[in-house]
């Protein structure tokens, strides 16, 4: 644990000093601030942020997580030549990447929303937005690590990470839109529920839109999800699914990392 914390601390320091993370934070801050100004209402701004941040944050988590682990491969060999266990190193590496990303998202999105909420007397949904975005980041970094420890070739691994993002966003939405207009709704209900739980980004979207009560933005899977579970149970099921999307890829990646030839 001590070793993992030490690896995480130095990893965090390395990542936090990189220029790109500053750019990412400024971009998120600019996006949140622009929506607050355009909407004139914090709650609506937070709801308006849902779709863009659900596209951006998993992409950044996947790309950055995979790039980081591929880039650190030689250094990791050097670290493992010290009296360091693989489990500790893996935990430290993951925290060293995920924590600065979480921090920048919390500040970039959270600061303008919190400030605006203070002046507008509160904003329901802001906290849930930040928590769900954070969970999605933890999940996408875990998936990125799983990709990087499974696929040795960096170019192929990065390609898979990008394809995974495309599949979970654009292709998934397109596929459901196509199917829902060609097949009767009742046939699709169960597959739609399963598909949602198998897609962390869709799960996160439903979790957020149920809070903001924006049925129009939920799409087909969101509507089915709410009809099936109702808002309360639906939130619990979606939250549990999202937690699973953090834990299972992370455990699988850690297991592969412990057994891999480095």
């Amino acid at each position: 644990m001590k070793t993992a914390a030490r690896v995480a601390r130095y990893g965090l320091r390395d990542v936090a000093r990189g220029r790109w993370i500053l750019v990412y934070g400024i971009a998120l801050f600019g996006l949140a601030q622009a929506l607050i100004l355009l909407e004139g209402d914090v709650g609506r701004a937070a709801a308006g942020l849902v779709n863009p941040v659900l596209l951006i944050t998993p992409l950044v988590g996947l790309l950055f997580g995979a790039l980081y682990l591929y880039g650190a491969r030689d250094f990791n060999r050097m670290l493992l030549a010290q009296p360091v266990g693989r489990r500790s190193l893996f935990g430290g590496l993951y925290a060293g990447v995920a924590l600065p990303l979480l921090g920048v998202e919390l500040v970039g999105l959270g600061a303008p929303l919190a400030l605006a909420a203070l002046s507008h007397g509160g904003a329901p949904g802001v906290l849930r937005l930040l928590v769900v975005v954070g969970a999605l980041t933890l999940s996408s970094v875990a998936l990125a690590f799983l990709t990087a420890v499974t696929i040795r070739d960096r170019a192929a691994g990065m390609g898979v990470a990008i394809l995974a993002w495309l599949a979970l966003t654009v292709l998934y939405d397109g596929l459901f839109a196509t199917i829902s207009v060609t097949l009767p709704g009742s046939v699709l209900e169960t597959p739609a529920l399963v598909a949602t739980l198998l897609n962390p980004i869709d799960t996160a979207r439903i979790l957020l839109l149920m809070q903001f009560d924006q049925a129009a933005l939920m799409g087909y899977t969101g509507a089915v999800f709410r009809a099936f579970f109702g808002s309360g149970a639906g939130t619990l099921v979606a939250a549990a699914s999202l937690v699973g999307w953090v834990i299972f890829p992370l455990l699988l990646a850690a297991r592969r990392f412990r057994r891999a030839d480095l």
Partner: protein, 262 residues
């Protein structure tokens, strides 16, 4: 002669490629051993197996009575200098050194008693790194990074030093200082294992030589034995002779030379 490292029947396969084929090697304690061989002979895989970076498919590695089996504690006794130093770009040299010190559990004083393996700060001066201590590693030249690499490998008075092409990238002064340091380590009683293609560098350093081809040992013994069995007076020529012949009965450890190379 006592062996620091005993490797018996080591096998490793990457997919269809058999890299180590039942390798038996002894690395004598307190001596400098050169590990040489053509490309793809298995040198890197052997070193990685000793460091626990790859999992052998079979065989046994023993470091001075400790079986290498996944427990990382034995690596307290190893100093490793990889061929290509790859450090986090945004960390400073001083931070990297402290990071590695922390992983090694080095403290100036433990429970009122000085730690037995004090880190050797004087090596930072020996390798002219004093002016670079507060510079980010990403801004340093390849030669300076290699000096950082050396200063870290020799920092902890390791019992076994594994040096992978240690002089690559160093200027003549850096090379001379490194070679002096290797000799000093040998005098101290450390065991040094050097992999290198530059045999002229090894000529005045190595006491022993292990020559690998296709994952098997073709020669293992003192350099004097090698010169005798190859009937040459030059290490470079002797190894060239080994490369020319199809097969040589292996000479194990310090056993009398029985191989006929002619």
């Amino acid at each position: 002669m006592k062996a620091m490292l005993t490797i018996e029947g080591l096998r490793k396969r990457y997919g269809r490629l058999e890299v180590l084929r039942g390798l038996d090697v002894e690395i004598p304690a307190g001596r400098v051993t050169a590990l040489v061989g053509p490309n793809a002979a298995g040198k890197t895989t052997l070193v990685k197996a000793v460091l626990g970076l790859v999992r052998p498919d079979g065989g046994h590695i023993d470091l001075d009575g400790f079986t290498v089996n996944g427990d990382p504690t034995y690596r307290e006794r190893i100093g490793y200098m990889p061929q290509h130093p790859a450090f986090p770009e945004n960390l400073r040299v001083r931070e990297l050194v402290r990071f590695i010190d922390g992983l090694r559990g080095v403290r100036p004083v433990i429970d009122g008693e000085p730690f037995t393996r004090q880190p050797r700060d004087e090596l930072l001066a020996l390798f002219d790194l004093q002016d670079s201590l507060d510079k980010p590693l990403g801004t340093l030249s390849g030669g300076t990074l290699q000096r950082v690499n050396a200063a870290i490998a020799f920092r902890f008075d390791a019992d076994l030093l594994i040096l992978d092409e240690p002089t690559a990238g160093l200027d003549p002064l850096g090379r001379a200082r490194l070679k002096d340091l290797i000799r000093a380590e040998r005098t101290r009683g450390a065991t040094v294992l050097i992999t290198s293609h530059v045999l002229s560098e090894l000529r005045d350093l190595a006491d022993h030589l292990v020559y690998l081809v296709d994952g098997r040992k073709r020669f293992g013994g003192t350099t004097a034995e090698l010169l005798r069995v190859t009937e040459t007076d030059d290490l470079e020529r002797a190894v060239a002779r080994l490369m020319e012949v199809e097969s040589v009965e292996p000479v194990v450890g310090d056993a009398a030379a029985t191989a006929e190379v002619s």
